[in-house]
Amino acid sequence: MAKRIELNVNGTKHTIEAEPDMPLLYALRDDLGMKDPRFGCGLAQCGACTVLVNGEPTRSCVTPVDALSDKSITTLSGIGNADKPHKVQAAFIAEQVPQCGYCLNGWIMTTVALLEKNPRPSDAQIREALTGLKCRCGTHASILRAVKRAALA
C-alpha cells in the first residue's frame, strides 16, 4: 500500500506518496522529476543511479524509499553547479571525461566520498574505491586522470 514518505534531497524536504518498497531512484526521477540519478541496471551493478545517503555512495535503484526518511540524500546536481562546481566535477570537466556520460553519477559521487575519507589516494586506492562501477564507452583512462586531478585540487 502506498504511504506518505518524507525525503530530504539536496537540502530540501519533500513528501511523496509511494509504495514503501519502491526504490529511491523512482522517487527521485518520477515523483520529484529529477534527472541526475539514472537507471542503468536496477541491480546495484553499475552505479548510474548513485546518490550520497548521509555522505555514503548508495545505489538508489535498490534502496527502498521507506528507509530514508531521516537521512540526507545528495545527488549529482546537489554537489555543485555551473557557477560553483564541486572540485570533482571541475576535474571531470577539465579532463573532458565522458563519452556518453550516462555512467558519471557513479564515478563522480563515489570519488566525492573517497576524497572525503582519503584526500590523497594512491592509484591502487582509487581503483579499489571505484571498482564495480561500469563505463561501457571505455573512458577509464580519462576517469583516472580526473580523479587524480581532483585529489590535487
Binding site: L43, Q45, T75, S77, Q89, F92, Q96, G101, C137, T139
Partner: protein, 753 residues
C-alpha cells in the same frame, strides 16, 4: 525535460531564428517566411547546412549525431575555420528529422569524413557569398576584402567593415549548391568556393576547443533520452518470452488488476503494457501472467556454438580476393602454417538498456530516440504505421552510449506500437535483462588462416576465410519494420543481408585468397541472438585472426614480429604506423616468446596493425599475465594512428583511448552466454566487462597528421587491431597462443597447465 511540441520553440531553443527575405547580391527567390521555421530541407540549399544568427554567430545543421566522441566539435571547428569565425561562435543542431537533412545518422565513422566534408564546402561557400555581399555593401572589390572573426573589412581601409550579422543575420541564405544526388552517408554538396588550404588553418588541427556536452553531463543538467517527458505520457514495458520464438497465446489480465491503471497491449507476437507510474509498469510486467506457445528451444548448446558454425551450410559466399596462383603456391610450399581463430557473440550491453518515447496521436508521430539514425527511424515508423514521412518527426537524444545498432531502435518501435494502441504518448524503458538479453549481438565467427612458406622462409601464399553469422541479419538500423523486434513479432519477415567481409591489410604476399561465408540465423525472427552492427562490425573478429596469424608466421619463420610486418607491408602509410608505434614503444626486436618472469607475473608485448577504410592503426599492447590466477592485465598500450587530416587532436586521442579500452574489454572478458532457450548473460555479473581495476595504466598515442589528405574517420578503426595485439602480447609473455576470445583466466590456466 518536459517537451513542448511547438516546432517554433525547438528552433528558438537552438538559437537560429532565421527568416528568409530577398538578399542584395544573392539570387533571391525564397518566399518570406512567416514563422521561425526552417526552410524546406532541400539538400542542395546552403541554408540547409549553415545559417547566421542576428549576432553574427553561425549554426551548422547536420543529419548525423555525435554519440559522445566530440564529433560536434569537429564539425563546428571545420565550419568556423571556413567562415573565419572563432569556434566558440559556431553551434550545431544534429539529428532532428524536421531540422536536418538525411545524412545517414551516426554511421561507419563517416561523421567527420562525409558530413564534415559537406559542412566544410557549405561553410566555404557561405563565406564566399558573405564576402560578395560585403563587397556590394561597402563598394570594395572582393579581392580587397578580408574576414576576421566574422567581420568583413577593407584591407586598405579597415574602417570600412561590415559583420556577418549585419549582412545576413537572422535570414536564410538563398544559395544553391551542387548536390551529388545522394542522401545518407554519401551526401555531398559543393559550392563555387574552394575550402581553405591547410596552410591557412587557424583552428583545424589544434587542441583546446571544449566540448559543449561535457559540463552539462558532469553537472547532471543534460537532458538524456531517459529524461524526455511528454504531458500525459504513460510508462511502457514489454514482455519477452521465456523461450525465444514463443509467442503469447493467452494473457491473464487479472494478475495485474491490483496495480493502478495498467493496460495490456497484445498484437500478434508482441506483448507489452502501460501504466501511469513507472514503478507500477515495472511491477506489472513482472506479475503479468502470460501463457506462451510451446516451441522447440531454438538454440544449440553454447559449447557447440563453433561446431554449429563449422558444420552449417553457408547461405552466402563472397570470394573477395583471388590474386596469383594460390593452389600452386600451396602445392609447392616447403611448409604450410595453419590456424583457426574463434570469436563468440558479444552484446552491445550499453550503459543502460534502451529507452524510447513515442507519441502516435492524431495521425502523426513524434519519436524521441537514443539511437544513431533518426532518419532511418522515421522510415521504419512510416512503413510500420502507413504514415507519410512528413507526418513523422524523430528527435535524436543523448542515450546511454551507442556503438552501432543497439537496442534503441527496438525500444522506439515498441513505444510507437504501445502509443498507437493506447492513444497516448508512451515511454518504453527496457529493463537490464531486456537490454543484455535481447539487444542485437555482434556475430560469432570462425576464421581459418593458412599460409605457404617456401624453402627460403618466404611467404608465397595467404589464404584467409571467415565463416559465421552475417553482420546484418536484420540490416544495421531500424529503417523498416522487420529490422525491429516489434516488427518481427508482428509478422514482418526477416530480410537478412549476407555480409561478413575480408581482412583489410596490405601484405605483399605473392598470392592470396580471401573469402567469407555467412550462415543463416539461429532463429528466423525476434531472436535474442540476432546479429547487427557493433562498433567496427566484424573488424575486431576478423583482424584478431589475421594479426594473430601474422604473428604466428613471424614466429614460424624466426622473424621479429615488427620486422616481419615491415618486410611484407607495402602501403607507405601502413609502414609508417607500424614504424611509429614500434618507435614509441621502444620495441626491442626478438624472435619467439620472451616469457619475462617476475615472481608470479609474466610480461609480454604484442603488435598488431590494420586498415579500416583509409584509416590505418598500429597498436602495441603490453600485458602482465599472472601464472597463478591466469588473469591478464593489459597494462599499457601504444597506438599510432593515421586518419588523414587531424581536426581535433585532443578529442581524437580520447576517442582512440575509448576504443582501446572497449576492445580490450571484449577481448579479455566478453562472451554472450546462452542456453537452448535464450540468452542467459542478462546483467553485468553474467556479462562482465572491463573493470577500473583492470584499466590500462597508460595509453600512449602517436597521431600521424596528414593535413593534405581528407579526414577519413576515427571512431572505429582502433577497435580492429587491439584484440590481436593483446593476444600476441599474451603469447610473448607465456608462449601460449590463444585462438579463441575472450582470453579468460580459465583459458590461460589451461594453456599453462
Amino acid at each position: 525535460m518536459t517537451i513542448h511540441l511547438n516546432r517554433r520553440d525547438v528552433l528558438a531553443g537552438a538559437g537560429a531564428l532565421v527568416v528568409s527575405i530577398a538578399l542584395p547580391g544573392v539570387k533571391a527567390n525564397a518566399a518570406i517566411a512567416t514563422q521561425a521555421s526552417r526552410l524546406a530541407l532541400k539538400p542542395e540549399q546552403l541554408a540547409t547546412y549553415i545559417s547566421i544568427n542576428q549576432d553574427g554567430s553561425a549554426v551548422g545543421w547536420v543529419g548525423k549525431v555525435d554519440m559522445g566522441q566530440g564529433t560536434e566539435i569537429g564539425w563546428l571547428m571545420m565550419i568556423a575555420e571556413e567562415l573565419d569565425l572563432p569556434a566558440a561562435r559556431v553551434s550545431m543542431v544534429q539529428g532532428h528529422t524536421d531540422l536536418t537533412v538525411d545524412q545517414g545518422g551516426a554511421s561507419g565513422s563517416t561523421g567527420i569524413w562525409r558530413a564534415g566534408a559537406a559542412l566544410r564546402n557549405a561553410a566555404a561557400e557561405a563565406r564566399r557569398v558573405l564576402v560578395e555581399m560585403a563587397s556590394e555593401k561597402l563598394s570594395v572589390p572582393v579581392d580587397r576584402l578580408t574576414v576576421t572573426d566574422g567581420v568583413v573589412s577593407d584591407k586598405n581601409d579597415p574602417s570600412k567593415k561590415v559583420s556577418y550579422g549585419e549582412l545576413i543575420g537572422g535570414r536564410h541564405f538563398d544559395v544553391t549548391l551542387e548536390w551529388n544526388k545522394h542522401f545518407g552517408n554519401e551526401l555531398l554538396v559543393t559550392g563555387k568556393a574552394k575550402p581553405k588550404s591547410p596552410r591557412e588553418y587557424k583552428i583545424i588541427g589544434k587542441p583546446g576547443t571544449p566540448r559543449r556536452d561535457i559540463a552539462p553531463k558532469v553537472l547532471g543538467t543534460l537532458d538524456y533520452m531517459v529524461d524526455v517527458k511528454v504531458p500525459g505520457m504513460l510508462h511502457g514495458r514489454v514482455i519477452r518470452p521465456p523461450v525465444a520464438g514463443a509467442i503469447p497465446v493467452a494473457v491473464d489480465e487479472s494478475s495485474v488488476k491490483d496495480i493502478p491503471g495498467v493496460q495490456v497491449v497484445r498484437q500478434k507476437g508482441f506483448i507489452g503494457l502501460v501504466a501511469p507510474k513507472e514503478w507500477d509498469a515495472i511491477r506489472a510486467a513482472q506479475k503479468l501472467k502470460v501463457t506462451w506457445s510451446d516451441v522447440k528451444p531454438p538454440f544449440p548448446d553454447q559449447k557447440d556454438l563453433f561446431d554449429h558454425i563449422r558444420n552449417a551450410k553457408p547461405v552466402h559466399r563472397d570470394d573477395e580476393q583471388n590474386v596469383g596462383d594460390v593452389d600452386k603456391a600451396f602445392a609447392e610450399a616447403a611448409r604450410i602454417v595453419e590456424a583457426t581463430y574463434e570469436w563468440p557473440f558479444n552484446s552491445h550491453a550499453c550503459m543502460a538498456p534502451a529507452c524510447g518515447v513515442a507519441d502516435m496521436r492524431d495521425g502523426e508521430a513524434t519519436i524521441w530516440t537514443g539511437g544513431q539514425k533518426p532518419h532511418h527511424c522515421r522510415e521504419g515508423i512510416a512503413t510500420m504505421f502507413g504514415l507519410h514521412e512528413e507526418k513523422i518527426k524523430v528527435v535524436a537524444m543523448t542515450g546511454p552510449g551507442s556503438y552501432g545498432r543497439n537496442d534503441s531502435g527496438d525500444a522506439t518501435m515498441d513505444a510507437a506500437v504501445l502509443s498507437k494502441a493506447v492513444g497516448k504518448p508512451v515511454r518504453v524503458q527496457y529493463m537490464r535483462h531486456d537490454g543484455h538479453g535481447w539487444d542485437p549481438k555482434a556475430p560469432a565467427t570462425i576464421h581459418k588462416a593458412r599460409a605457404a612458406i617456401d624453402k627460403d622462409g618466404k611467404v608465397t601464399a595467404w589464404h584467409y576465410e571467415t565463416k559465421g553469422f552475417s553482420r546484418r541479419e536484420f540490416f544495421r538500423d531500424e529503417g523498416s519494420p522487420e529490422r525491429t523486434l516489434a516488427g518481427q513479432l508482428m509478422d514482418w519477415p526477416l530480410k537478412p543481408v549476407w555480409l561478413i567481409g575480408p581482412p583489410s591489410e596490405s601484405y605483399s604476399f605473392e598470392s592470396r585468397r580471401l573469402a567469407s561465408e555467412s550462415i543463416g540465423p539461429l532463429l528466423d525472427r525476434a531472436s535474442p541472438l540476432r546479429t547487427s552492427h557493433f562498433r567496427d562490425p566484424l573488424g575486431p573478429q576478423i583482424h584478431f585472426g589475421v594479426e594473430s596469424f601474422i604473428d604466428e608466421l613471424a614466429h614460424a619463420t624466426n622473424t621479429d614480429t615488427v620486422e616481419f610486418r615491415l618486410r611484407y607491408l607495402k602501403h607507405p602509410r601502413d609502414l609508417a604506423v607500424v614504424k611509429a608505434v614500434a618507435e614509441k614503444a621502444a620495441w626491442k626486436p626478438h624472435v619467439g616468446p620472451r616469457k619475462e618472469i617476475n615472481g608470479d607475473v609474466l610480461t609480454g608485448r604484442g603488435i598488431a596493425y590494420s586498415v579500416r577504410g583509409q584509416t590505418r592503426v598500429a597498436v602495441i599492447a603490453e600485458v602482465e599475465v599472472n601464472r597463478t590466477t591466469g588473469k591478464t592485465w593489459a597494462r599499457r598500450f601504444y597506438v599510432a594512428h593515421d586518419c588523414g587530416q587531424v581536426i581535433a587532436p585532443d578529442l581524437l586521442r580520447q576517442t582512440l583511448e575509448g576504443q582501446i579500452v572497449q576492445t580490450a574489454s571484449r577481448a579479455l572478458h566478453e562472451e554472450v552466454m546462452f542456453d537452448n532457450k535464450g540468452v542467459t548473460s542478462v546483467d553485468w555479473t553474467s556479462y562482465p566487462i572491463l573493470d577500473i581495476k583492470d584499466a590500462p595504466e597508460a595509453i600512449e598515442i602517436v597521431l600521424i597528421d596528414r593535413p593534405e589528405l581528407p579526414p577519413v574517420g576515427a571512431g572505429e578503426a582502433t577497435c580492429r587491431p587491439t584484440a590481436a595485439a593483446i593476444a600476441n602480447a599474451i603469447f610473448d609473455a607465456t608462449g601460449i597462443r590463444l585462438r579463441r576470445a575472450p582470453f579468460t583466466p580459465e583459458r590461460l590456466k589451461a594453456g599453462m597447465a
